[in-house]
């Protein structure tokens, strides 16, 4: 029998960790907001939230998070991690917000300003997300579903893309590489759709 699900939400001072923790608590009894190595090691699932600019967020992460431990947990121990919004962006190869900056490079692609072709920016509101057939989330979303977005930058393309959305042009709404998941939208602000997505994320178990 596998151990009970527990979530550790990483807090580097640039995320709406409170909102993410609140929705997680409706899905799971064990939710901690912490950067402590013990908390990260004992959790079954990690979440990396994010609000704000790419360069600033990345800088804060490098200062405050035990990135080597997290990398080992994700890449070697195959612990599931989900990045949200800027938490998606910093996991990619590079970003161009605040000057071109290298990201962590765990996921493929460069985060650039949205090609909105004259539509208002930031891209704020509920937009339809189309999951690829082989996405981990596809079984939970047979029909395309709306999620809440707030951003001006995104991946135009990525070898790891698992969902897309459109705003003036197509962009990547979610990426996946094995146990590593990331979404450009905010599941914690997407009512029932967001809860369904997080619940599906928690179904991914390394020990299953």
């Amino acid at each position: 029998m596998s151990e009970p699900t527990s979530i550790c939400i990483l807090n580097y001072g640039s995320g709406n960790v409170g909102s993410v923790a609140n929705i997680c608590r409706t899905l799971c009894d064990e939710v901690t907001v912490s950067n402590a190595p013990e908390a990260i090691e004992s959790a079954t699932h990690l979440i990396l939230p994010g609000v704000g600019a790419f360069d600033r967020s990345l800088q804060k992460m490098r200062e405050r998070l035990p990135l080597e431990l997290i990398e080992q947990q994700v890449k070697i121990d195959k612990k599931p991690l989900m990045g949200i919004c800027v938490g998606l962006q910093v996991l990619c190869d590079a970003g161009t917000e605040g000057g071109k900056t290298a990201g962590l490079g765990w996921l493929n692609g460069t985060v650039e300003r949205l090609e909105s072709h004259g539509l208002h920016l930031p891209h704020i509101g509920w937009n339809t997300v189309h999951f690829a057939e082989d996405s981990w989330f596809a079984p939970a979303f047979a029909e395309p579903k709306e999620f809440y977005f707030v951003h001006s930058f995104a991946l135009a393309k990525s070898a790891d893309a698992s969902a897309h959305s459109d705003y003036g042009s197509q962009f990547v709404a979610a990426v996946e590489r094995g146990n590593l998941f990331a979404v450009q939208f905010h599941p914690e602000k997407s009512q029932t759709a967001g809860r369904t997505l997080l619940s599906r994320f928690l179904e991914y178990r390394t020990d299953a």
Binding site: G18, N22, T26, V51, P122, I124, G125, Y148, D166, H186
Partner: protein, 271 residues
Amino acid sequence: MLKKRIIPVLLLRNGYLVQSKKFSKYQNIGNAIWAVRRMSEWGADELIYLDITRDGQYDAKRDDLRHGNPTSIEAIVREMSQSAFMPMTVGGGIRTLLDIEKRLQWGADKVSVNTLLAEAPDLVEEAAKEFGSQCIVASIDSKRVDGQAIAFIHGGQTSTECTTLNWAKRAEQLGCGEVLLNDIDADGQQTGYNIDLIAEVTQALSIPVIALGGAGEWFDFEDVLSDTQASAVAAANLFHYRDQSVYLAKKHLFESGFAVRKPELQPFITK
């Protein structure tokens, strides 16, 4: 595709939910916490709370207790953030960066600033850099003076002597990520939105605009969505008097072919 948002606005005055007419008459319409729960359950796309208390005092001396105890913005935002899981904007009385930080910590996603745009534009600029543009909404109250739309501050009491259009452009330059455009003349009149003004402002800005003021029936939303580039329609009074109002408004628009999120009731989850 990006959907047009339908946003209920909750006006709080001295801790009570109120209805407003032309920014000068206020009627107490009930308990704020219950109201926000309803709006959430009916599938609102977002919520905006504006604290329009003038003296900063929560009136606990009311003898009319029919509507229960007064509620602070803090209590509402905390409550909603624990169970509603939807975007929330909080405005009213914001004067410092700490005021903004506090509201974000309670669980707000965005804050709206109005008078601050006039009194401390440098602070607005700093806030946009510190918390991100997406987080700072410029709340602009417009009123016709000699046939021209002029931006007002101090809850509609003081003219900026600047046209609403230029005031909005300035807000964008300061780094605001969105504009909440309210028309004082239309407030509480149920005569429809100020379409010309909304069209003019949305055309000129590159950031999204939320239209507010004047909604009397669902058809009024249609005019905004058909004739302007507004990203969202907001209303206050209209949403408080009918059961499932937000749901019904969205259903009407959805069935009429407008690009709104499919109407769905959202269960209120308590842990």
